[in-house]
């Protein structure tokens, strides 16, 4: 592998003019902001701004198509028609929820597997969101694994209000991979955007997506760094994203229904053990959109707030059981001095659901959420105390 990495480096030096892969060599780096082609008027959020925030891992517009690393199917690429249909369904959901700030993970700009669809431009042009900051985490010319090919993936923050500054904060890479794999693997980063919600009032949004498959403690380092960055944030902020970690009081921590009982695929993408205690400090220091008492202490109560499942409702596991949300990995945190508007917070799990619960603020959803991604959106109305 070292020889192969050396040879690849020599070849790259000799002059393939596009780098084989972007090593993302930075600690903290400003990024450009995208803007909708025609700005849609955004409502005045008020003296004490109230902002509908959403965090959603959109699984690169793949819906419930089983990609190879989940080991329930072998897909490595979608057609443009498939991506367009999936993203159209995503736009429908976003237009039902109407976020003021949207934080997305696994959004792609120009990847072979998603037919080179520009999802940044797609969300801007098909929703009320006017601005976007894209935080690249994976930019490789060609991944010679399962024919994945070109990858251009990252996280993004969308806003109805102007993004005045955006930056990405590098996170550590895994140390349990060979040199060649590491070169072409994802390089995680925290995305931060400063948003001017009204004249003289700025807030910050932080989007995260930690490592999912490491066996060397990388995810735990990511979570610690996210906590440290959030604590150092001077502006009122919302922290959202896919932490790939369970809440500290999660009842089920292993043997999830969508794990293979037989070894069908390799070990590279098997789910390593969770460490739910790592999330306790977030609940201590900040306010999650669903606090621990509401999350509950039994499996039935907690299922209401599950945000992820590898298998969708149309597929079955080794026991013949259909897939459904089975664990909580996605969060929205704000400062203690801010507040979540009662009746506004929820995990958006399925069609027909009223956001916020039976006595919630709504809306009642018509989008088929369970089939849009392997993650459910999480949402709430953030009341900012300036």
């Amino acid at each position: 592998m070292k020889i192969a990495a050396f040879l690849l480096s020599v070849i790259a030096l000799l002059g393939a003019c596009e780098p084989l892969a972007n090593d993302e060599n930075f600690a903290r780096e400003a990024v450009l902001t995208f803007r909708r082609s025609t700005i849609k008027p955004a409502p005045d959020p008020g003296q004490t701004p109230q902002l509908r925030v959403v965090a959603w891992n959109i699984k690169y517009g793949a819906g419930r198509i089983p990609f190879w690393f989940d080991c329930w199917g072998d897909r490595t690429q979608m057609s443009k028609a498939e991506v367009t249909a999936n993203m159209t369904a995503n736009y429908q959901l976003l237009n039902e929820i109407r976020p003021d700030i949207l934080m997305t993970e696994e959004i792609e700009l120009n990847s072979r597997r998603s037919a080179y669809y520009d999802m940044i431009r797609g969300i801007l042009e098909h929703t009320d969101l006017n601005y976007a900051a894209y935080f690249e985490t994976w930019n490789s010319r060609y991944i010679a694994s399962e024919g994945v090919g070109r990858i251009h993936l990252g996280n993004a923050i969308f806003s109805r209000y102007p993004i005045t500054f955006a930056e990405r904060i590098r996170q550590v890479d895994r140390t349990d991979q060979d040199a060649l794999t590491k070169k072409f693997y994802i390089h995680r980063a925290i995305g931060r955007a400063v948003i001017e919600v009204r004249a003289g009032t700025q807030v910050a949004a932080l989007v995260v997506h930690t490592e999912a498959y490491d066996n060397d403690g990388t995810k735990r380092k990511h979570i610690q760094q996210i906590y440290d960055v959030a604590r150092q944030e001077n502006l009122p902020f919302v922290l959202g994203g896919d932490f790939n970690e369970l809440p500290p009081t999660a009842v089920q921590v292993q043997h999830f229904a969508d794990e293979r009982e037989r070894a069908v695929c390799g070990a590279d993408y098997q789910q390593p053990p969770y460490h739910p205690a790592d999330m306790q400090k977030f609940y201590d220091e900040f306010q999650n959109f669903v606090d621990l008492p509401r999350y509950g202490t039994d499996a039935t109560a907690q299922a209401r707030y599950h945000t992820h499942s590898v298998l969708g409702p149309d597929d079955t596991n080794d026991k013949g059981e259909h897939g459904s949300w089975n664990r909580t990995l996605d969060y929205l945190f704000i400062r203690k001095q801010d507040a979540w508007l009662p009746g506004s917070t929820d995990v958006i799990q399925q069609r027909g659901q009223k956001v916020g619960g039976d006595s919630g603020l709504g809306p009642i959803l018509s989008a088929d959420v369970l089939r849009l991604s392997d993650h459910a959106p999480v949402t709430g109305i953030w009341q900012v105390q300036p």
């Binding site: 000799l14 450009l32 995208f34 897909r75």
Partner: protein, 287 residues
Amino acid sequence: MLAYLAMTLRPLPTLADVLSPRETADVGAKGSYSLGLFNPLRWALWDGVEVEAHPLVFISAPHVTARVRHLDANGWRIAGEYGFGLPVFAWTRARPLGVSGDLVPSCKVADDDAKASRWCDRPGWILVPSLGVAISKGFQDAAGAERGIATLRFDVSKGFTVAGHAGAPLAAWAPVDVQLAPWIGQGRGRLRLGYDHAVVDGLRLRGEAGLHYTTQADDDDRSPWTASLYAGVDVRTSTHTRLTLGAMYWNSDMHGITIMRDSEGYATVQRVRNHEVWPTFDVIWTY
């Protein structure tokens, strides 16, 4: 291995002069043969007829090309090239015998459970005929020795899927894409103009410009045109061997983009063509 072989594919010299020009319409005399580290085996079975194949690649992807002399008069040579390939095993075997799990999906889930086969995009059984023509004209020096030769080559090839389905365009590196396009079910046409010149005894210079066309998937807006340039030297290293060194430049559309700042300071995505420079190297034995 398959990709690198594809990148450095070159025809071979004849027996009479180990440092004869390459990539021409010349066909070897009966019994002559040659083989490179990366160049294919070329064997003249009869006068005016050669067969060509890569021995290692043949294990996974059986293929053969027959080169037939149609004209050799007054410095002009015309050869027809008639090929056939069956690359299926290259797609279904993992390295080192194939590229399953590298350039194409390995389909582990489908192999385990036939009900999951609908998710497998691995290329199926694809037959690949090819047809080409090479036209060469030699140029003599004052002493009447042929020092230079210009060659125009044109070939077309198409993969026909007879079982399973065609693969998706690889969109990998340009030389790999162009070489393997028919093997995943695409069509390909190539037009190449080269010139090979003997500088001194034992040293030749060679250059070639190429224009390549590959058919695209219906929903792919990538340009089907690729251009290439090659420059290199051939050096005699012994009676029966030569060393070739060179570089190839490829200009292609591989869905490259750049994120730029527009006039108002906002980000905008622009498509750009890809530029690739690849070194070439080979040692060729000729008998």
